[in-house]
């Protein structure tokens, strides 16, 4: 399990994220979960995700999160 998947699993252990194509539309992550997720990503990669990047679109899937992290020169 990679770091993103591990963080998601800790955040919502009862959810099978791999079964969803869109975490937001499927109701797996709400806006407050996203803030917790950002906090965990910041810590894990020693970055600070810019506040304007904290929009649901950037957290709708593992691919979207990976794409966002690339902006911060993080490669999963």
């Amino acid at each position: 399990m990679n770091t993103i998947a591990s963080i998601l699993a800790q955040l919502r252990p009862e959810i099978k994220f791999e079964e969803s194509n869109n975490y937001i539309n499927d109701g797996l992550l709400d806006s407050f979960d996203i803030m917790v997720l950002v906090s965990e990503l910041d810590k894990a990669y020693s970055i600070s995700i810019n506040g304007i990047d904290i929009i649901p679109e950037n957290f709708k899937s593992q691919a979207a999160i990976e794409m966002l992290l690339k902006k911060y020169e993080v490669n999963e």
Partner: protein, 354 residues
């Protein structure tokens, strides 16, 4: 829109907080979320304790108690001010204005300009702007600005998005003529986003009724009624992150100061996470932008900036002065900021009610 003022100062500041304190670990028992998930949120957002009123305490109760304290301690004379500005989203009644309620309860003089302003998280700065503009009149020498809200009574205890952070309180700020240098401010508003922070029922558009009191499933495990505060957390967060950093940059440019020359950034306190993200974006050290009000007292709308100042900078504002950048952002939507030298106050403290 930019504003410029001179020869005006804040000479004293008192914050009145309800003595009743609620703890997040107790609140979370009523949320429809697993405890572990709520505890994670507590850690990130800084939720811990918050002060909320009990027994039907209203805005004027907090304000009158604070004013009486100032009179009793001889920090303010009963006849020594010419205007009373009350900034609140929780007036005692739809009418009359709460400023008149306070005037009447304290038997203040009739030569007093009483005015209510319906504003929230930017309300301290909006109130200061109003006060500074009033001081241009020769008949007005000193102004009492009261920010007060008791919105906890309009937040659903089953709404994990809003209830843990809500706080009640009042602040009394004495504003008068006197020089501490120039004051720069700016303000923007966007009424097209007004629904992002709203209490839908209770006004004339949707009067309260048995229907508006019914808790509804908001679709995200939170339950609230139309009588309750509704906050679109994602929209508000994004609004703040997009608009506040450029607003501050523009303000400091207007004031011709660099960000390093500002001693403190006393910002409205929505939650710790949002403030840390702002500080990161603005490259301001966390110790220059205090973020400890939500965890200790809750978010009391327009009262948070005076609370930040009195809780964190009391000694520095009583003895000496500091260059302070204020920023408020929220309902309206409204975002406003102000840069000024502040200090040498005759009082700057927090008291409990009752």
């Amino acid at each position: 829109m930019n504003f410029y003022f001179s020869n005006k100062k804040i000479s004293g500041m008192l914050v009145v907080l309800p003595a009743n304190e609620r703890k997040f670990v107790d609140d979370m028992k009523t949320f429809n979320f697993p405890e572990a998930r709520s505890l994670k949120l507590k850690e990130v957002m800084g939720y811990d304790k918050h002060r909320v009123v009990t027994n039907g305490t209203c805005s004027s109760d907090l304000a009158v108690a604070g004013m009486q304290h100032l009179f009793d301690e001889k920090l303010l004379g009963r006849d020594d001010f010419d205007a009373l500005i009350v900034v609140s989203q929780s007036s005692d009644h739809i009418l009359p204005p709460t400023s008149n309620v306070i005037q009447g309860r304290l038997n203040l003089k009739q030569d007093l300009f009483c005015i209510d302003v319906n504003q929230g998280c930017a309300g301290f700065i909006v109130g200061l702007m109003q006060a500074f503009m009033m001081l241009e009149q020769s008949s007005i020498r000193r102004i009492v600005l009261i920010n007060v809200d008791v919105l906890s009574t309009r937040v659903s205890p089953k709404d994990r998005n809003s209830y843990p952070l809500i706080g009640d309180g009042a602040s009394i700020t004495v504003v008068e003529e006197g020089g501490m240098g120039e004051i720069f401010a700016n303000l923007k508003m966007d009424g097209t986003s007004r629904d992002a922070l709203i209490i839908p029922a209770g006004g004339f558009r949707i009067p309260t009724s048995s229907k508006t009191a019914v808790l509804e499933d908001a679709g995200d495990n939170n339950f609230r009624a139309k009588d309750h505060l509704r906050m679109d957390g994602s929209a508000v967060f994004n609004f703040v992150q997009v608009h506040v950093p450029p607003m501050i940059e523009s303000l400091l440019e207007f004031a011709k100061v660099t960000s390093n020359e500002v001693d403190y950034y006393a910002f409205h306190q929505p939650n710790r996470f949002m403030l840390q993200k702002l500080a990161d974006k603005m490259q301001v050290p966390y110790e220059k932008m205090p973020n400890n009000i939500v965890e200790n007292f809750g978010n009391s709308s327009g009262v948070t900036i005076p609370t930040v100042l009195a809780y964190n900078l009391q000694n520095e504002l009583l003895d000496g002065s500091r260059r302070i950048c204020l920023a408020g952002f929220g309902v309206g939507l409204t975002w406003a900021s102000m840069y000024m030298r502040m200090g040498n106050m005759s009082f700057c403290n927090i008291i409990n009610y009752p």
